[in-house]
Symmetry: C2
Subunit: 447 residues, 2 copies
Amino acid sequence: MLVQGVCNSVINITDLNQLKWYLNNLQPFDVGEYITHLPEKQRAIAFRLLNKNQAIDVFEYLPHKVQGELINSLHDVQVAQIVEEMSPDERVILFDELPAKVVKRLLRELSPEQRQVTATILGYPEGTAGRLMTTEYVRLQQGLTVGEALSKIRYQDEDKETIYYAYVTDENRKLFSVISLRQLLFTFPDVFVGNVASNRVIKVSTETSQEEAAQVMKRYDLIALPVVDREDRLVGIITIDDVFDILEEEATEDIQKLAGISGDEAALASPQVTVRKRLPWLLCNIFLYITAASVIAPFQKIITVVPVLAIIMPILANSSGNVAFQVLSVTVRGLGVGEITPKDTMKLLRKELLAGLGIACGLGLALTTLSMIWSPPDDRWISFIAGSVMIVNVLIAVILGTLLPMGFKRLKLDPALISGPLMTTTLDAIGFLTFLSMISVMLKIVD
Amino acid sequence: MLVQGVCNSVINITDLNQLKWYLNNLQPFDVGEYITHLPEKQRAIAFRLLNKNQAIDVFEYLPHKVQGELINSLHDVQVAQIVEEMSPDERVILFDELPAKVVKRLLRELSPEQRQVTATILGYPEGTAGRLMTTEYVRLQQGLTVGEALSKIRYQDEDKETIYYAYVTDENRKLFSVISLRQLLFTFPDVFVGNVASNRVIKVSTETSQEEAAQVMKRYDLIALPVVDREDRLVGIITIDDVFDILEEEATEDIQKLAGISGDEAALASPQVTVRKRLPWLLCNIFLYITAASVIAPFQKIITVVPVLAIIMPILANSSGNVAFQVLSVTVRGLGVGEITPKDTMKLLRKELLAGLGIACGLGLALTTLSMIWSPPDDRWISFIAGSVMIVNVLIAVILGTLLPMGFKRLKLDPALISGPLMTTTLDAIGFLTFLSMISVMLKIVD
């Protein structure tokens, strides 16, 4: 790859002056990576080598944990400067992570303007568009000409997060229309902005969930999305860089929930957090599994007579569990990216049942053939029953794996809550029960 | 949500004129959704109601399958017009899906300029940055002033895919520097572009993988990324809308591979495709599982003596399988989004082992306690052995779930290839073997 400024080249430099020169000339992202990978004690030293503008840029790329550390170990003046210059949305994310006492101190040190903006955003609940937005957008009055609008952008709006869209409002900030910088550039300067701006503004409310806002931006290929309050007044915009993070977090959550982890766990979370996010699911599952296994308990005698069942049963459980996992992952992910909606339930079920039938027959045949190896010669019929139960169980797996997430979605619950582990436990119970009762009926007939 | 133009409102309109008015005034994405959800025969009728510009915009939002259908059912003139006006990268994606004969015909009807551009992009292998890029970017010569550059953009570059970045090259198209439209607007008109443009250009080569290009754009918050050939000549740019799709596909692939599905399967793929993507894994797994189960076969006698083992074994298998799935999903996803790299192996392993110890003890205790329920009163010791094997097995699950994907990543293989199903099969074999051999040793001692 041809990305410039790979940070590996810096790590071996021991001359501080040379390091300073390097750190101030690399991409902020790469400097952030470099500082994050330093031992904790050296981070503040390296960070102090950055000149003011680079320091502000680099700071926004650091993980929140490292940001918090630096806030504690840098001089108050430098901290105040950095926090003042951060974009409001990034600042709010940082404040969410810091102890309340530190936040109070930092808020006090902000300029009145930035303090008010920060307090406003902090007022919206976590996970909403209001909490994600930035207030640094370009706002135009309706009466401006294109030429006036362009000069306004050129001479007044240098610190806006994006200047590629401008929003036209009345004096009460009620949002009327949107115009891209591109349109402004391609229009004659004496035309009124109101005459060329588009009235079909795609917007979300402060209460819209972040996931929904991200999906809207993806769907309409937007690089900024206006956020309005209940009175339709423009209060902020969401920019594309935030959307990447949201979509990525959402995918991570889908994967982790499917695997039976609650919430989104960072790969390098502390062991305590890890146990807290994983163990409850596992314990809940083992209790359920014991209930499922109690299905086997009454059949213990049959197992004494035909111990080969103890070999076949785990295979049965394992296979139908795997099928369920496959169906679940396709359905949950399809719903997650908007590829399918609950309206497609019947279409999806038909496809999954047809495919499931093929898969079920394949697996049933394989199990029948292979289990012949251990079946006692007189009990070949056991293999056939194993094969048939496999077919039935796989079809049940397909139906549950399709209908449960679709049903959850329709009830406006998170479809990823149907985690794989719970699903496999249910399927095991059904499989064992069917298999063992068929065997016991057959044994009576054979006797 | 406040998105305008929800397509549901259109569906009940029966008056064609009214429908035409609606379809030409809705967002192209929504019209695309509407047409996609129409019965196949009505799609071309609805599409013909669109005026030229709307038709071109809507076409790019349609699924490739529907695009192909429309190409067959619209008039040749209209098809030629749409295909000519598509952005080159979208056109190439469409051509990939169409039969070679149709592509040949369409290529013949393109303007010479567009034909050459398309042929160039088609020349790069699938999955590379070269195949993803568009050739509609703004290129500036080094000698221009900022004012001249702005007029060039305003009066010549109306059909470029993005005008928010301009790339400075020499006459051989060798890429020198990049300047954003924002910088151009904020600089005095008589300054030379070469003096303000940034030399630290982040770029990728035509051979870079699309995933890598997407990660680069995400990392550096870019809305366009230049693509250069081996001689460092600028050949195209990748725009942000393509990156969303790539990152989303990548996450889908991770989820599906973890669940044991090869390649990325669309939620509404045909049953044949579905079987082809899923059955091989399942069959491979059942064969492996039979091998694993053959571990049990020699112990059949013990099961006859202590049938409670047949209950405990599936619980053991199920739990360690679930733990492995959790660890795998966190590691694979962490690698996928760049949260961790193979360098973090020891750090991750330490965290997972510590967390794993907590989880193992919790599960071991639960199994010991609960399995007492079925153990014959003389054989309480079986429960303790079950609990200890659980602890060992969970720790093995943690180690494999961490080290295998990390090792694969280090070997430059896809870590998601360590699918959950194969992992659980391995763990089952290890667990059964440990458990049954310990039991058989103990039985001899007890006897």
